[in-house]
């Protein structure tokens, strides 16, 4: 009897695999969007994607990784649309023929957060580079993404303008987490460190602990998001029509309104600026 | 349901699977420069029980494994009915070890397993396994898990399992060592009964009394070499060699 019982269990399991493998929603069209954690973790996609899916019938599957990783994945053809925030890398992507055309989509801004005690004395400053210089000077702990993401690239540019190479102090007061924005903020929160973060992720972040915004409002902290259709001439499987429909909708009045209307704790996180 | 394409007779035995005589010629097995079996000759060419006797380390168990086709000799040849042993005929040469190896299933399933490997069709296995158990007086163990039986029961079951496919030759390696008198008697009865059917039996034993009870012939083995089999009477009363005489008198040391 045991044998029969075992084979029944096994048969049930194998059946469940077959059901799993079967394309359960074969009739539904979907596109894959390579994007960043900031758009996902802030809840923006949860707000706007249902609206698009309802009007178009196209399901959007978001893979949320760092900008560097997202661009690499898209360069392998593993996605139909790229939605990230690192303008020069995006332009290079199009120039190499991997993408069709880059469109401005929306922006938010970066902020420098740090412990409320403010050991570097930068609270209220409006020059981000000067603030970083003071962090370096005081040897206050700074948590960096260190993962080639859009945020990391922005941070490196700011250090450069401050005339400081923090990599020399890596492991000392400069900590490269090599992970996403959330993990880096968790680190900063636990260690009382400063960090550069996009405002959307910061607002949605639930483990702030002692951290507060120290520096904001610098024009250089402007964070532009772009959207690109992966080149169907390069990758035949790219769902060009559906992908383009998504991009067109994002840039339409309806899409731009959806982006602008997303609020968290009464604050608008993303500002549509498609032309 | 036909099992693995083997040709079957109406009784379910393997057709044309002839293994007699079981024969070892000029067998040599050497390990680390020592000849454990040294130019040994032994043939099961007559019906009845042939006992293989000799001191520990004489190479008796090794010779038995050679004849069973489990080990290949370094020199010489084992033949079954004139050809080299092969897997398809293995069930025609029954084998019982000094320590029984029971499968983790019931007594009946252990016997049925041997029948399955021997190519007996599924439809016949259950009845034939029950018959085999009954012939050994083990019906009551049919549903018992084999691994928890007593040593004596396991060994009787092992013998019944070896007999179930109706082998032409049966090789027994000290089957009653460490068993109580009752189990020993039951096993000896089965051996005698099988021998009467014409089965060729080779019995490795240390026990002169057992050899006297069961053996038609006795071959003496010492230091890897086998003396020609002689009748039990001759062996005990007028041994051919000084070493055999010393062994019987309990004076032989290796």
């Amino acid at each position: 009897m045991t044998k029969r019982f075992l084979s029944t269990v096994l048969a049930g399991l194998i059946l469940s695999i077959i059901l799993l493998m079967a394309p359960a929603r074969a009739d539904e069209t979907f596109i894959i969007v390579q994007s960043t954690t900031s758009t996902q973790n802030s809840g923006l996609f949860d707000h706007i994607l249902p609206v698009f899916t309802e009007t178009s019938g196209i399901e959007v599957r978001v893979v949320a990784v760092g900008t560097g990783q997202a661009i690499k994945n898209a360069a392998n053809g593993d996605g139909d649309v790229l939605l990230v925030h690192a303008q020069s890398a995006e332009e290079a992507f199009v120039e190499e023929g991997l993408g069709v055309e880059r469109f401005d989509l929306m922006y938010n801004d970066f902020v420098i957060v740090g412990p409320s005690g403010d050991p570097a004395g930068i609270a209220g400053m409006t020059d981000a580079s000067d603030a970083l210089a003071m962090i370096a000077e005081s040897g206050s702990t700074f948590a960096s993404r260190g993962d080639d993401s859009g945020t990391h690239k922005k941070e490196q540019a700011l250090w450069q303008e401050a005339g400081i190479d923090p990599a020399g102090s890596s492991g000392d007061w400069y900590l490269e987490t090599g992970s996403g924005m959330g993990a880096t903020l968790n680190t900063a929160s636990a260690m009382g460190a400063y960090a550069l973060t996009d405002r959307a992720t910061w607002l949605a972040f639930a483990n702030k602990g002692d951290l507060v915004i120290a520096v904001e409002g610098d024009a250089r902290l402007f964070n532009q998001y772009g959207v690109i259709l992966v080149n169907p001439e390069r990758f035949a499987h790219v769902k060009a029509e559906e992908g383009q429909a998504f991009i067109d909708w994002l840039r339409s009045d309806e899409g731009q309104d959806a982006i602008g209307s997303y609020q968290l704790d009464g604050q608008q996180l993303f500002f549509p600026n498609a032309k | 349901m036909p099992d693995d394409g083997t040709v079957l007779t109406t009784t379910g035995s393997l057709a044309g699977a002839e293994v007699l005589p079981v024969c070892g010629r000029d067998l040599v097995v050497a390990r680390d420069g020592r000849r454990l079996v040294d130019s040994a000759n032994l043939a099961l060419d007559q019906p009845g029980v042939t006992a293989l006797m000799g001191p520990n380390g004489a190479g008796k168990s090794l010779l038995l494994r050679l004849l069973a086709g489990l080990i290949a000799p370094d020199q010489g040849a084992v033949t079954w009915a004139g050809t080299v042993p092969d897997r398809m005929r293995a069930s025609r040469v029954g084998l019982v070890f000094h320590r029984p190896v029971m499968l983790r299933r019931t007594g009946l399933a252990n016997v049925a397993f041997a029948l399955k490997v021997a190519g007996i069709p599924r439809a016949q296995r259950h009845d034939r396994a029950l018959e085999a158990l009954a012939s050994g007086g083990l019906e009551h163990l049919a549903a018992s898990p084999a691994r928890v039986l007593s040593g004596g029961e396991q060994q009787r079951l092992a013998l019944v399992r070896a007999l179930a496919p109706e082998p032409q030759a049966l090789l027994l390696d000290e089957p009653t060592a460490n068993l109580d008198p009752v189990s020993t008697l039951a096993i000896e009865e089965l051996i005698v009964r099988s021998a009467k059917t014409g089965m060729r039996i080779l019995l490795v034993t240390h026990d002169p009394a057992q050899a006297q009870r069961l053996a038609d012939r006795i071959a003496f083995m010492h230091a890897g070499q086998v003396e020609a089999p002689v009748s039990a009477d001759t062996f005990f009363n007028d041994p051919a060699s000084a070493r055999a005489r010393a062994f019987i008198a309990g004076r032989l040391v290796l």
């Binding site: 799993l20 894959i32 599957r61 978001v62 593993d78 924005m181 499987h237 | 190896v101 983790r104």
Partner: protein, 235 residues
């Protein structure tokens, strides 16, 4: 600690509330990991048994590699499978990346060596005891492997459970090849990783407790099943 009691409260709320999103994630986790364990078992059990009953040149190397593969980091397994399934990879045309199938493949790659290596160890001991008797019956190589696997079934059940534990608890491989897409490839571990990155630590820990409860439940079920098997075998 506040975080910890918050986590238990969250876990309780998640389980009692029977959130449909959570249910979907749990079901997918079980489907993916059980599928992977079955596939890995179909590969690893015979492979491990075959290595233990066969002698061939280079066998020691094969065993060493199998044992080393037990420590394969999930991220490496995930990366290897990503490179195979990526559109730029050799199997890109199958379009499996970012599907549950890809996750099953990655976990199979991760678990099959574990099952193979542990099976080899279990069968090798048994083989020493059974080899001569089984060959005396006239059994062939494949019959020998099948018989030894069945004889070792009680121990191998534990091996499969160990494989399941490894599969269901890893995150590095599934997040890379699955993409953690909501309602498509989000499983327990990737959901935990996501909530952690959002700083929602109590929710993440709550999900972790749910995962633990599910793994416990699967083990308890397997224990009952095994007791049934062992009861029949009595050894």
């Amino acid at each position: 600690m506040d975080d910890l009691s918050g986590a238990f409260a969250q876990a309780f709320r998640l389980i009692v509330g029977f959130d449909p999103d959570l249910l979907e994630i749990v079901v997918l986790s079980l489907q993916v990991s059980l599928s992977a364990v079955i596939l890995a078992g179909l590969i690893g059990l015979p492979a491990g048994a075959a290595v233990s009953v066969t002698r061939f040149p280079g066998r020691a190397v094969v065993i060493a590699v199998m044992n080393a593969m037990m420590g394969l980091p999930p991220v490496v397994a995930g990366l290897a499978v990503y490179l195979m399934l990526s559109r730029a990879g050799p199997l890109g045309d199958w379009g499996l990346l970012y599907t549950p199938s890809a996750m099953v493949i990655a976990q199979t790659v991760l678990v099959a060596p574990i099952i193979a290596a542990l099976t080899r160890q279990a069968i090798e001991d048994l083989h020493g005891d059974y080899d001569e008797q089984l060959r005396a019956f006239g059994i062939g190589r494949s019959g020998m492997i099948a018989t030894l696997l069945w004889e070792a079934r009680v121990g191998l059940f534990t091996v499969l459970l160990a494989g399941f534990g490894r599969a269901v608890s890893e995150v590095g491989a599934v997040i890379m090849v699955g993409g953690n897409i909501d309602h498509v490839t989000r499983v327990m571990t990737t959901a935990i990783a996501l909530e952690t990155s959002k700083g929602a630590l109590d929710l993440a820990l709550g999900l972790g407790i749910v995962l633990l409860v599910i793994v416990l439940g699967v083990n308890a079920l397997a224990g009952l099943l095994r007791m049934g098997v062992a009861g029949r075998a009595h050894a």
